[in-house]
């Protein structure tokens, strides 16, 4: 799915040059759930930007879904971001003036999908992340966890090849964070390729592979034998009813929201 070879990124600011990525080689297969860890300044964000087609490498090759990205122009990059990549950000990045539904519609707007189809797909997607009752709410009317679920729905609505997520739980409380991870794990089980950036090992342990970065280099590629199961974690926090089965948790998240509020 992702093939990165001899990737170098150098930022030139006037006279000084900062090497953000140095000779990075990386392969991520379809269906993998990978986390990228490293201290700040390690180059993990730069890697994410390049993987997300928001930035171009100084040298080296990046193939996404068989397509060499560094050969694309601005329009090609935009198209790749639109159709191949789904972004989930730490600070959600929803448009505040728009409802959940219209936020989810945005990627489809740029894909040229007509209005009727957009509403249909966006509604389905919001139902999948457990927000069927909140499609006409604005971000300010939703909790952090709900906002992030809208962002996930938005990231997935164009059925991208890969989901990129930069600290998706960073601004959430533990329970909400765990719920987001549960969604990711479920998506992954259903075949989605996910790359997640985090600086928390607890979060990274939910994935099956951890890539460590330091000073712009890939220093370690760690396999996680038994990834943590987010649903189990939620059960441990005793906020999810026993009846909540693994198959159904997607549509039940709203209920768990209510339960959690009761528990407080």
């Amino acid at each position: 799915m992702i093939q990165v070879s001899r990737l170098v990124k150098i930022y030139s600011t006037g006279e000084s040059q900062v090497v953000a990525l140095q000779d990075v080689n990386l392969e991520i297969a379809a269906g993998e759930f990978v986390s990228v860890m490293g201290p700040s300044g390690s180059g993990k964000s730069t890697l994410m930007n390049i993987l997300g087609c928001l930035d171009t490498p100084t040298s080296g090759s990046y193939k996404l879904d068989g397509v060499e990205i560094s050969s694309l122009d601005d329009t090609g990059m935009a198209k790749a971001r639109n159709l191949k990549i789904g972004f989930v950000f730490q600070n959600f990045n929803l448009l505040p003036r728009m409802t959940a539904l219209r936020n989810v519609e945005i990627p489809m707007l740029y894909a040229g999908i007509d209005a009727k189809e957009r509403v249909k797909r966006a509604t389905t997607m919001l139902e999948k992340v457990g927000l069927s009752g909140r499609i006409n709410h604005r971000p300010s009317q939703l909790s952090g966890g709900q906002v992030q679920r809208v962002a996930i729905a938005r990231a997935l609505v164009n059925e991208p090849a890969i989901l990129l997520s930069d600290e998706p739980t960073g601004n959430l409380d533990t329970t909400s964070g765990e719920e987001i991870l549960a969604i990711f794990q479920d998506l992954n089980r259903n075949g989605a390729t996910i790359v997640l950036v985090t600086h928390e090992r607890d979060i990274a342990l939910h994935t099956s592979r951890i890539i460590h970065f330091r000073d712009g280099r890939l220093v370690d590629d760690e396999r996680v034998e038994n990834p943590l199961d987010a649903l189990e974690q939620l059960k441990k926090q005793r906020t999810v009813p026993a009846a909540l089965s693994e198959e159904a948790h997607f549509v039940q998240t709203e209920e768990s929201d209510a339960l959690r509020e009761d528990a407080r």
């Binding site: 928001l54 971001r81 448009l95 003036r97 707007l109 740029y110």
Partner: protein, 390 residues
């Protein structure tokens, strides 16, 4: 991104910043309103002026001797008048005119005013309506009788309540019998009220000892007036070789008056157009602010797959929507203003559909022109930088 969605986003943006959007569009509103009102008033005024001249008669022409020339004669003779009448059937009426200023004394007071020596046909040429009595006849003129016809306003002033017709006035030191009053014309330009005394041309020449200074004639129609006038000048030139004549028809005057008012309207519209330009700068200014404020939104949209073109179009549409809204409001204000002014000035308001259409198109153009710079700035933004911004 499709057009409808862009317009929707633009309208939401405008709604979110109501006061700011209102103040921004105000510049366009004032500009468009000013241009529409000025053009409408200008055209209305022009139409009134034309109608007024039409009323006077566009088949009228004037001929005078060109004084710049060291010519032997400085005016026309009675013979000239007769020859023109005999030779040119295209002339329906011809009057030999002279005028000067003198005191006209009535029983109440005297008035220093214009004393016109004219032929009897003058009343037909200038379409006079008699309020009382009659205009003098060709016999009065031929015999040089001391009869006078007064403009109503003059009679009112020097006679007061007394009835002027049948009574005497003295013009200079010569007594005259008043035989008629000329009714006030219904002029839109109320200030140009005539205050004249008319006496037979021959009588005038007897008293003031001078020559016929100009000829005033009417042709069969306004179409033939130019030709008839030129023929008349030719006849005169043949009779008096070396003398230069200048001539002018009412049709010519009307046309040049139309041209002048047209130019005036254009100049004032251009000045009003400057405010439109200033309004455009206001739009550009606020669009630049908007782009800066929404840097993050631009970043998000780009991350979700917006191309440069999409962002450019979105912001362009926003500035066009802003300008066109201003244009529509300005159109309403301008048309309303034109109607009010027309009502006060008592002339027909003339708002042509093309002015409105032009204003609409122009405000859209302003939106595009002044939106281009901010929209381009937005489109060129680096998505990573944009996403990082708060």
């Amino acid at each position: 991104m499709n057009l409808l969605e862009s317009i929707r986003v633009a309208l939401e943006g405008i709604q979110a910043n109501k006061l700011r959007s209102f103040l921004t569009t105000l510049g366009i509103v004032i500009g468009i309103a000013a241009v529409i009102a000025v053009v409408a008033i200008g055209q209305g005024g022009q139409a009134v002026l034309m109608a007024e001249m039409e009323k006077v008669g566009t088949n009228i022409f004037f001929i005078s001797v060109d004084w710049n020339d060291e010519s032997s004669i400085r005016g026309f003779s009675a013979g000239d008048v007769q020859v023109l009448k005999d030779r040119l059937p295209g002339i329906t009426h011809l009057s030999a005119n002279s005028s000067n200023m003198d005191n006209v004394r009535g029983p109440k007071k005297k008035k220093y005013c214009t004393v016109q020596g004219v032929s009897s046909e003058y009343s037909f040429i200038s379409k006079m309506t008699m309020k009382e009595g009659r205009f003098f006849s060709s016999e009065d003129d031929g015999l040089g009788r001391r009869v006078a016809v007064l403009d109503e306003a003059l009679a009112d002033e020097i006679f007061g309540r007394a009835d002027p017709v049948g009574n005497m006035v003295s013009i200079g030191s010569t007594p005259f019998l008043v035989i008629g009053l000329v009714a006030k014309g219904e002029s839109i330009f109320g200030f140009s009220e005539n205050v004249n005394a008319y006496i037979p041309g021959k009588t005038w020449r007897n008293i003031y000892g001078s020559y016929i200074s100009n000829l005033q004639g009417s042709a069969v129609s306004k179409e033939t007036v130019q030709g008839t006038m030129e023929q008349a000048v030719k006849v005169l030139e043949r009779r008096h070789p070396g003398v230069q004549y200048s001539s002018q028809s009412m049709e010519q005057i009307k046309q040049s008056a139309g041209k002048i008012t047209g130019i005036m309207t254009l100049i004032i519209s251009a000045i009003a157009g400057i405010s439109l330009f200033v309004g455009g700068i206001g739009v550009m200014n606020i669009m630049l602010v908007s782009v800066t404020e929404r840097t993050r939104e631009i970043g998000i949209r780009k991350a979700l797959g917006a191309r440069r073109k999409d962002i450019l179009v979105q912001f362009l549409i926003e500035s066009v929507v802003l300008s066109v809204l201003g244009g529509i409001i300005g159109m309403a204000v301008g048309i309303g203003g034109a109607f009010i002014i027309a009502k006060v000035a008592k002339w027909p308001p003339l708002v042509s559909w093309w002015t409105a259409l032009l204003a609409f198109a122009f405000s859209a153009c302003i939106g595009v022109i002044f939106g281009l710079l901010p929209a381009n700035k937005a489109a060129k933004m680096d998505p990573i930088e944009a996403l990082r911004r708060d």
